[in-house]
């Protein structure tokens, strides 16, 4: 039973990371109606910034963390203004291809700037474990869960209680009418990209200590984030978070207790589960079915 709880807690920690990145995907999808394939590379790029600041410039962790979030936000807004806006009104597939181009571009520039060698990023949390009711839980896991859930709550408060948050929701739901009441829709969409970049940066910085940092670090995690977003419903922020946590815990338990699956088939098993969920509920758990018009 102890082992079971340990698996659940570490599943929640990785689920928090998947949920953060899934939330980033959902924000962009709600704002601009596209899936951002470059989200993982954007997150890895942010993680390289925190690595450079702490390792090469001697910053302590939390100032570097804050600085990275600011840079990532600016980067996200910049990417939207420069690369996405020109193609936003065209066909969806065109925007998808542009984000794939962005993926290659950012991935290549990481290798170019920082070389492809693996780096280790230090963790802001101690490596000790604490004993909670006979279950040893690492502080790293607790810290990861706290930071990712804290971010989600802050974001919810922002959307729910600020004027900018309201304007952003309005632009996502009905851009034409939002524009009529004076919302600057283009900037709201850019803001969405900025926030998504911040979420990605947090996911990247939380992931880096437990794996090693290299330009492809976030690619596998992006796939889990896709899965989490689809599971929860691609238009539902709360769905993304719940989907991420479910996926993290579920994957850990399947990997630990189903022998046939083991470590190699973890990803396919997760994808199969999601495929089944989609077949039963094509818009995800929290998604809404849209009525289609001709």
């Amino acid at each position: 039973m102890t082992e079971f709880f340990q698996q659940v807690v570490s599943g929640l920690a990785s689920g928090g990371v998947y949920g953060s990145l899934a939330l980033a995907l959902v924000l962009i999808h709600r704002a601009t109606g596209v899936i951002n394939f470059a989200q993982g590379e954007m997150a890895a790029f942010s993680t390289y910034i925190v690595w450079t600041l702490t390792t090469n410039h001697g910053w302590s962790y939390w100032p570097a963390f804050a600085a990275t979030l600011v840079v990532s936000f600016a980067g996200g807004v910049g990417i939207h203004q420069v690369v996405i806006r020109p193609v936003e009104r065209g066909s969806q597939i065109r925007v998808v291809i542009v984000t794939i181009g962005l993926l290659l571009l950012i991935n290549g520039s990481m290798t170019w700037i920082w070389s492809g060698e693996v780096r280790s990023v230090k963790s802001p949390f101690p490596t000790r474990t604490v004993d909670i009711g006979g279950v040893a839980i690492s502080l790293q896991d607790i810290g990861t869960i706290a930071v990712s859930l804290g971010t989600v709550i802050l974001l919810w408060l922002f959307f729910r209680f600020t004027k900018v948050g309201l304007a952003m929701r309005a632009s996502a739901v009905n851009p034409a009418e939002a524009r009529l009441v004076g919302v600057r829709v283009a900037w709201m969409l850019g803001l969405g990209w900025g926030l998504a970049a911040v979420l990605g940066a947090i996911a990247g910085m939380l992931t880096a200590p437990s794996v090693f940092l290299d330009p492809t670090m976030m690619q596998a995690i992006l796939i889990y984030a896709f899965a989490a977003a689809v599971l929860g419903g691609i238009d539902s922020p709360i769905g993304a978070v719940v989907g991420g946590l479910l996926l993290g815990v579920g994957l850990n338990l399947i990997g630990a207790y189903v022998d046939f699956v083991g470590a190699d088939l973890r990803l396919p098993a997760a994808l199969l589960v999601i495929l089944v969920v989609l077949l039963l509920k094509p818009a995800g758990i929290f998604g809404k079915q849209h009525v289609r018009k001709v």
Binding site: V98, L105, N107, I234
Partner: protein, 334 residues
């Protein structure tokens, strides 16, 4: 003869002539690279039937290529089937796989379908590794120098021409591509093609006009996967080797790039799309030798192409055509 038919025929004859004359002007090494263009073209035609004409985004066509590639490799290595006969079998098997996948996919549309197909592509390498006894696991199946592979050790003689392996490969893959091109054109010009386009433009309107969504969507999936299967078999023959990394996720994404660059809902533009995905990475490597730089160049050019050519190369051709004739033209004609 309708003018669109005449134009399509003219395009096709020009293309065939170019294909058959090309080896006289390029080196043996280039012939091999152009063989891959033919293989990509086959896969792109299939993907365009599904994505360009029927409007169903697939990010998982690498998986159907893997079905074809492994079918061909297993038939050659374990059952002594000659390479060219593995191509139709691979196409048929992948087609059945695509048709079967098309049934659950009926419930998904848009971004959900894209992600479901992406999931298939992601899962494929791990699944191949798991069934080791059948697929050779991570080390794959080596086909180099086996007698089933035509011209792999000694040149082959066809109609009095002696062809080495690279030239044989070139003609084989382009023959398949051109046959596939004609079949796709025949399929798309008539009733079926019209039904596909109706599904793409508005599912609701298509249903109310009596088009069966289930029938045409699964048909599009099956046909599309069959092309991918044939391309996968050719891929196995060309690389003389298959392993799980022969068909990575990146392959599925590259195919979608090829279709978008060539032009959704066009056949002739796909030739440019196939050339683009084969040669741009190679060219990018020549631009700069520093690590990472080729990917930056590739990514930047891809984004620029999408900015400049919204309809891909087919859109460019249509615009040029309307400049010269100043007449009425339909953008989705090929």
């Amino acid at each position: 003869m309708r003018s669109s038919t005449a134009r399509a025929l003219g395009t096709f004859l020009l293309l065939s002539a170019a294909v058959y004359l090309l080896p006289a002007f390029v080196s043996d090494f280039r012939a091999q690279q152009f063989a891959y263009v033919g293989i990509y073209l086959t896969a792109l035609i299939g993907l365009n039937v599904l994505t360009g004409y029927t409007g169903q985004i697939s990010l998982g066509h690498g998986a159907f290529m893997a079905v074809g590639g492994y079918t061909a490799a297993i038939l050659m290595a374990d059952h002594g089937v000659k390479d060219i006969w593995t191509i139709p079998i691979a196409a048929a098997l992948a087609g059945v796989a695509g048709f079967l996948f098309g049934i659950p996919a009926l419930r998904l549309s848009g971004i959900y379908l894209a992600l479901a197909t992406f999931a298939i592509a992601v899962a494929t390498p791990a699944v191949i590794k798991k069934f080791e006894g059948f697929t050779g696991g991570g080390s794959g199946i080596n086909l180099f120098g086996i007698p089933e592979l035509t011209a792999s050790l000694t040149p082959v003689e066809i109609f009095g021409w002696e062809l080495n392996f690279n030239n044989w490969l070139y003609y084989l893959s382009w023959t398949v591509a051109l046959v596939g091109y004609v079949l796709a054109w025949l399929l798309l010009r008539g009733r079926t093609g019209r039904a596909f386009r109706a599904v793409r433009d508005s599912e609701t309107a298509a249903v109310s006009s009596g088009v069966s969504l289930a029938r045409y969507k699964t048909l599009a999936f099956g046909v599309s996967a069959a092309y991918a299967g044939a391309a996968g078999a050719l891929f196995a023959i060309a690389t003389t080797f298959v392993n799980p990394d022969t068909f990575p996720v990146a392959l599925s994404i590259i195919l979608l790039v090829g279709v978008a660059v060539g032009g959704l809902g066009s056949l002739v533009g796909l030739v440019a799309g196939a050339i683009f995905i084969q040669f741009l990475p190679l060219w990018a490597q020549n631009v700069s030798k520093s690590a990472g730089a080729p990917a930056v160049v590739y990514g930047a050019i891809l984004i620029l192409v999408m900015f400049v050519l919204p309809g891909g190369f087919a859109g460019l051709l249509a615009r040029l055509g309307s400049l010269t004739t100043r007449g009425y033209h339909r953008p989705n004609d090929s």
